[in-house]
Symmetry: C2
Subunit: 214 residues, 2 copies
């Protein structure tokens, strides 16, 4: 019974790793489609986000099944709660990648991101990708060092978001209202993506080590 | 043992009701402070959001305590998971009220919402308030009718958000970039608030009736 439970919990971890890899890949492709005005790639992100949602449902089914059949003990229950939280954060990250892709698609064939914003957006995307990579890493190979770096990565993201607003609100801004709104929204999507990734990372650390991250 | 467990679960429901009332009140006050440029009221929203966070921690402590001491059976576990989800949604709704208040404070003593947007924002706030009222109601007195209306309220919110963007992107817009970004962000805050409320409402319905809402 115990061995079966451990095997199922391990299975949940494997699905979470696949989900984390998928949302990382989704955001990379969403950013690329946005910055190159590639509508085919953007459309594919919308399609592939459904894969993330499928993983999410599979994890919920697996965990509710475990609960019903295995009567896990208190310590295990926290791990299962934690896995559900991570799955919910990852699902939301997929949604945010979809929002990024949609922002590009809405302006196609024109680029949604004017030259003045391209480097700010690329920098935010790079931090989002770095945090994503860490959360996949923590699941497969938990490192307190990686986990502890999540907060400073998140601070870096907040700083980049402030920088983005400086550009949008400067007297030199010549792009008008719509690209400004798109830019501000994109900034928020990357910031929220990173925030969910940091939450997921903290929970993952707990899931793998059984210890909260301070 | 069972009676004690039921009493504790009831206690969790009571805290969720307080939390739901509090986030409703927070958003009402945040909107009022925003539309009247009332900095004292806005500041108070930031302070009072901490109360919501305290409720959230109290619910988590209570539920983890229940798990450790009571060894709940499978059916109960779903209810406890569900209560944790609701608490997390409500906590996020408090954050969004705070974002609304902060948007007003950032522009003080000037109004953050120009006249062209005041009615759109007031309409979104009214729908947010209506959904909030329903989720408190579902917890204290679960009604499938109220719960079923949540989706159409959410559709109404999406429609209002589209209307807001029509104003922001119209050729008549004379307010420049910063109020446009503020307006777009505010629209998103209300829309997200409603979305979390709808999620919480669905989970509440399950928490109280033991049946999923279709």
């Amino acid at each position: 019974m115990r061995a079966e439970y451990e095997a199922e919990l391990d299975d949940v971890r494997q699905i979470l790793i696949s989900m984390a890899n998928e949302v990382r890949d989704l955001m990379r492709r969403a950013t690329h489609s946005l910055l190159t005005a590639d509508a085919d790639e953007g459309d594919q992100v919308l399609v592939d986000d459904a894969v993330v949602n499928t993983y999410h449902r599979r994890i919920e089914d697996r965990i509710y099944g475990l609960l019903a059949r295995q009567a896990p003990v208190a310590g295990d229950l926290r791990l299962l709660f934690c896995a559900l939280h991570i799955a919910a954060d990852l699902e939301r990250m997929g949604d945010l990648a979809k929002h990024v892709a949609k922002t590009g698609l809405r302006r196609y064939p024109f680029p949604a991101v004017p030259d003045e914003l391209a480097s700010a957006i690329a920098d935010m995307a790079a931090v989002a990708d770095r945090i994503s990579a860490k959360i996949s890493g923590i699941l497969s190979n938990p490192s307190a060092t990686d986990a502890a770096e999540l907060d400073s990565d998140d601070d870096a993201m907040d700083e980049l978001q402030r920088g983005l607003f400086v550009v949008l609100l400067s007297a030199d801004w010549r792009q008008g209202v719509e690209p400004a709104i798109d830019g501000a929204m994109l900034g928020r999507f990357y910031e929220r993506y990173a925030d969910h990734a940091v939450n997921a990372g903290r929970q993952m650390y707990f899931l793998v080590t059984g210890e909260p991250l301070h």
